[in-house]
């Protein structure tokens, strides 16, 4: 599959209506293109791990995705947990039910907020960087150079990035959940006068395996979405001054929207 592709049409649209239909066709074709990039990337996952050159890329991407984002993700999840604890805790206190604070925080984190905030952080920190990097490479003919040398840009560039996200997103989602719970506990102890041990006991007792799996599944889906969107936006970058900036912006917006919508859908399917 060639990455350096041309516009579908050589000529300018003759009428406004034709231009409108071309936009729709363009949109559908880019959906198909992204799907093909994802499936070919998955096809190359084994060779990314086996081959020396792409494996070094993979380790680099794992580091960028998993380690370099830790500071941001830690702060975001800490405050997510703290805000949850404060809002829920103030309500619970009116009914003298502070003992359930841990459970309330844990449930919202593990089912929803941890994968969500982790996905947002990854889209903003990693997805944007991928789109910008690949977009710059596209504009500078580096992707074309790879194709001419018969090196598949999908195997060489897309696959390690998507694999790193697939691997790291669930781990980071789990990490978010733990940090958020701790953050909620800190608020509970310092502001709401809850005993920390009681808080943790309540949190742990409520979390069951299904919640954990659904949370991890969400994080995994978000990882795949962010990887596919940012890689295909990057590869789709057109020559021009605004090209790289625009595809970076679009990769973040599209990832955010999909994270919200898919998050809702997974919840809807898994909890009735």
């Amino acid at each position: 599959m060639t990455i350096v592709r041309e516009p579908i049409w050589d000529d300018a649209p003759a009428t406004k209506l034709q231009g409108f239909f071309r936009h729709i066709t363009q949109f559908l074709s880019s959906l198909g293109w992204a799907a093909r990039i994802l499936s070919i990337s998955i096809f190359y996952f084994p060779s990314v791990i086996v081959r020396k050159d792409s494996r070094s890329q993979l380790f680099n991407q794992l580091y960028i995705t998993g380690i370099r984002t830790l500071p941001v993700i830690t702060v975001v999840s800490l405050f997510t947990g703290m805000i949850l604890a404060l809002q829920v805790g103030l309500e619970l206190r009116r009914f003298n039910q502070e003992i359930y604070l841990g459970a309330a925080v844990m449930i919202s984190l593990i089912r929803e907020m941890a994968p969500f905030s982790c996905g947002m952080c990854l889209a903003a920190c990693v997805g944007s960087a991928i789109a910008a990097e690949l977009g710059t490479m596209k504009v500078n003919d580096e992707v074309a150079a790879l194709e001419i040398m018969s090196i598949s840009p999908i195997r060489y560039l897309a696959s390690p990035r998507i694999l790193a996200l697939v691997f790291m997103a669930p781990l980071l989602g789990f990490f978010c959940c733990i940090i958020g719970t701790v953050g909620g506990g800190v608020v509970g102890v310092t502001q709401l006068g809850v005993d920390f041990e009681q808080y943790m006991a309540s949190a742990i007792s409520i979390a069951d395996t299904k919640d954990l799996f659904v949370g991890l599944l969400k994080a995994l889906v978000f990882g795949i979405v962010i990887g596919t969107v940012s890689v295909s936006e990057g590869f789709g970058t057109e020559v021009g001054a605004t090209g790289v900036g625009r595809s970076t912006q679009r990769s973040v917006i599209v990832s955010f929207l999909l994270i919200l919508m898919l998050g809702y859908m997974i919840t809807r399917v898994c909890y009735r």
Binding site: D11, N60, N140, D141, E142, A145, M149, S150
Partner: protein
């Protein structure tokens, strides 16, 4: 039969014809210099040869194979025969210069590491970059990046090499070295070359024929001595403009 043949190639972007009925051919073992003002589609012409772009109409053949309609297997074969220096060098940012040059050998040949190292060292020496072999592309100047791209284009000793502005942005001394290198590769290995250039003197020295492109059409294609004495008004205008730059 000509090795490379463009027949009436039209290429439109968004309704604007960048190439507008371009025809020319290149014989085996020949050096063709492609000259013309910026934005006339010289880089676009080269990209058509390896199907990075496909023509709106017209036909491009390499060794008798129609590039824009051949199977992907044939395309891979054609691409493997062609070395390509991109206008910006197109080096991968995270690899050292030597690794960049080694890339086509690593990926497309079964050479041993020691043989690859040898060939890479030779290619880097020929573009006078041995000292910068371990540097990253971001750590060297634009002219050096271009020379590294040149080393990558010639390292496989392909039988066709396309040079997109190999000497622009280089100092005059290095330009002469690069021009000599292109001529030498052509003489010793019989490499067929298309050189896009703004360096008229260099083109006159190395090229067997010079092709002037203007507004997407071939204006004149002739031997260097005929080219400078051409009575074609467009060529005269171009030559005058080039001299104007020099004086």
């Amino acid at each position: 039969m000509s090795l490379i043949k463009f027949e009436n190639v039209v290429k439109k972007f968004n309704g604007v014809a960048v190439l507008d009925g371009l025809s020319f051919d290149v014989e085996k073992g020949e050096v063709l210099a492609l000259v013309g003002p910026s934005g006339t589609g010289k880089s676009v012409t080269l990209k058509h040869l390896v199907r990075l772009l496909t023509p709106t109409s017209g036909k491009i053949t390499v060794d008798g194979i129609d590039v824009s309609s051949c199977s992907s297997k044939e395309l891979t074969h054609i691409r493997s025969r062609i070395g390509y220096l991109f206008q910006g060098g197109a080096l991968l940012a995270w690899m050292s210069v030597a690794e960049n040059v080694a890339l086509p050998l690593r990926e497309c040949t079964n050479l041993k590491d020691s043989e690859i190292d040898e060939k890479v060292a030779a290619a880097l020496a020929s573009v006078e970059l041995s000292a910068a072999a371990e540097k990253l592309p971001s750590e060297i100047s634009g002219g050096m990046q271009k020379r590294a791209g040149l080393a990558r284009a010639i390292v496989r000793e392909s039988d066709i090499v396309l040079y997109d502005e190999p000497t622009s942005g280089l100092d005059p001394v290095t330009s002469v070295t690069i021009n000599r290198l292109i001529k030498k590769l052509n003489k010793e290995l019989g490499i067929t070359s298309i050189v896009v250039t703004h360096d008229l003197q260099g083109a006159l020295n190395i090229a067997d024929r010079i092709l002037l492109i203007k507004e997407g059409k071939a204006i004149e294609c002739s031997k260097p001595e005929e080219f400078v004495n051409s009575q074609n008004p467009a060529v005269k205008e171009f030559l005058a403009a080039m001299k104007g730059e020099i004086v």
